[in-house]
Symmetry: C2
Subunit: 262 residues, 2 copies
């Protein structure tokens, strides 16, 4: 199975994209709702949680791990790659590759949680992928709570998005990376506020496309993971009351959430 973890249900945008692009490859998902959000926690804490989440997914039979959470990928991807022999796919690299290739001017914006932006990982990888590019980053800590409240098009949300994006707009970026799995749900609000000419890169879609390419090019990996009849499973470490509605909203269909201790 393909293992995917996230701090909560935001990573279901990644799971959904993988399910659509890679049919026949069952998923095992873990949303760490008992400790969500990760974006405001320390790198050491996020690394510890990511370690536990990965152990859990491997015990469930995962042969490859997707770090769907940008905060976890920022803090823990180096640690996880050093610690495990399994393939680790993180949500950051594919978005970086895409942004580096599509930007005309090399002026690239990144928005994410405080943990993601403070890590500097997007900036560092963008410099590796496209030396000399200009990267402008902005932490947007209020966007996750707004999305989790379902305030996608409220006037207050639009004002807050506008306030966060103003510095990036002033820098005349031509490409913007949505460096958090919650942000694609705000795409309609973000688009007009960053400017119609700016290309928006959705890290969830890019990681699913990257995984598809990996599977297309690697027969061994493909045969190890391909199991068409087998159903995907969705685990969460806590089930607060609004989570079913939120998960359905994000995933686009009913999902059976199984409670587990991590």
């Amino acid at each position: 199975m393909i293992g995917i973890f996230d701090s909560g249900v935001g990573g279901m945008t990644v799971a959904r994209a993988i399910e659509q692009l890679c049919p026949g490859f069952p998923l095992v998902y873990l949303g760490d709702l008992a400790r969500t959000p990760y974006g405001s926690k320390s790198p050491a804490m996020i690394t510890e949680y990511s370690h536990r989440n990965t152990d859990f997914l491997l015990r469930q039979g995962a042969k490859l791990i997707v770090i769907a959470c940008n905060s976890a990928a920022s803090a823990a991807s180096v640690f996880l790659r050093n610690h495990y022999s399994q393939a680790i796919v993180d949500v950051i690299f594919p978005a970086v590759a895409k942004a580096a290739s599509v930007s005309a001017t090399g002026r690239i914006g990144v928005i994410g949680t405080r943990a993601t932006i403070n890590s500097g990982l997007y900036e560092q990888r963008l410099q590796d992928a496209r030396p000399g590019c200009k990267v402008y980053s902005q932490a947007c800590p209020l966007l996750v709570p707004l999305v989790e409240e379902g305030w996608l098009e409220q006037r207050e949300t639009k004002m807050i998005v506008k306030r966060y994006l103003r510095p990036l707009r002033d820098k005349q970026i031509d490409t913007l990376i949505l460096g958090c799995t919650h942000y694609p749900l705000l795409k309609k609000t973000i688009g007009p506020r960053i400017g119609r000419k700016v290309q928006i890169i959705d890290s969830s879609v890019e990681v699913a496309l990257h995984l598809k390419t990996m599977l297309d090019n690697d027969a061994r990996l493909r045969s190890e993971l391909y199991a068409p009849g087998e159903p995907s499973r969705f685990f969460v470490s806590d089930i607060p009351s609004p989570v079913h509605a939120l998960a359905e909203n994000i995933f686009g269909r009913t999902v059976l959430l199984e409670k587990t201790d991590v």
Copy 2:
């Protein structure tokens, strides 16, 4: 020592009030920043965390436990009182007693996290304290993230506060309980939006006053807890980068935060 726990640093409003009202009584504080916030988690999860926090404080020598977090008090106060022989003081009861006594019309509003409001505990205790009163409750899930961002007087914050308070204002309440330790920091924003005639009850201040009365009336408890030379200690289960500034802002002076695993 007096043990106090909270999901994060919001409970420092309680610790500060106790320090001011009860000098000579050292505190041991635990902020569970590794799992914060509690207000969006399930009652079972919050109870488990509260149990662990209480065990930790007792191991540090606490002889009395103050549940400074409204979400924890809502979910776990009954469990903790059944499980431990030590005195458990929760942040809800004193605010309820105050509101029940000062309201002229018996029309009382309560704002808090989703966990606090969904528990119905404020409503239930208000009915016990003042049978026949009318209680109007409103979950305000975005206020904690706004306070933690330091957005205390931003235009967006004022609009969101106004939106949350509108239903309570329409009900013509004469008393409003701030049922979350973060909300006193928004008092200047809340006051004019709920209406100048509405009395605002700060659960942090009320619990400190209640504790002072307990100490004044109970010589045994007083002698057990009084230790004037001894310093208070502040533990946190994670130290994310903005926490020192936030703690100082809330506590009103520099505090040494010690990291611990709970």
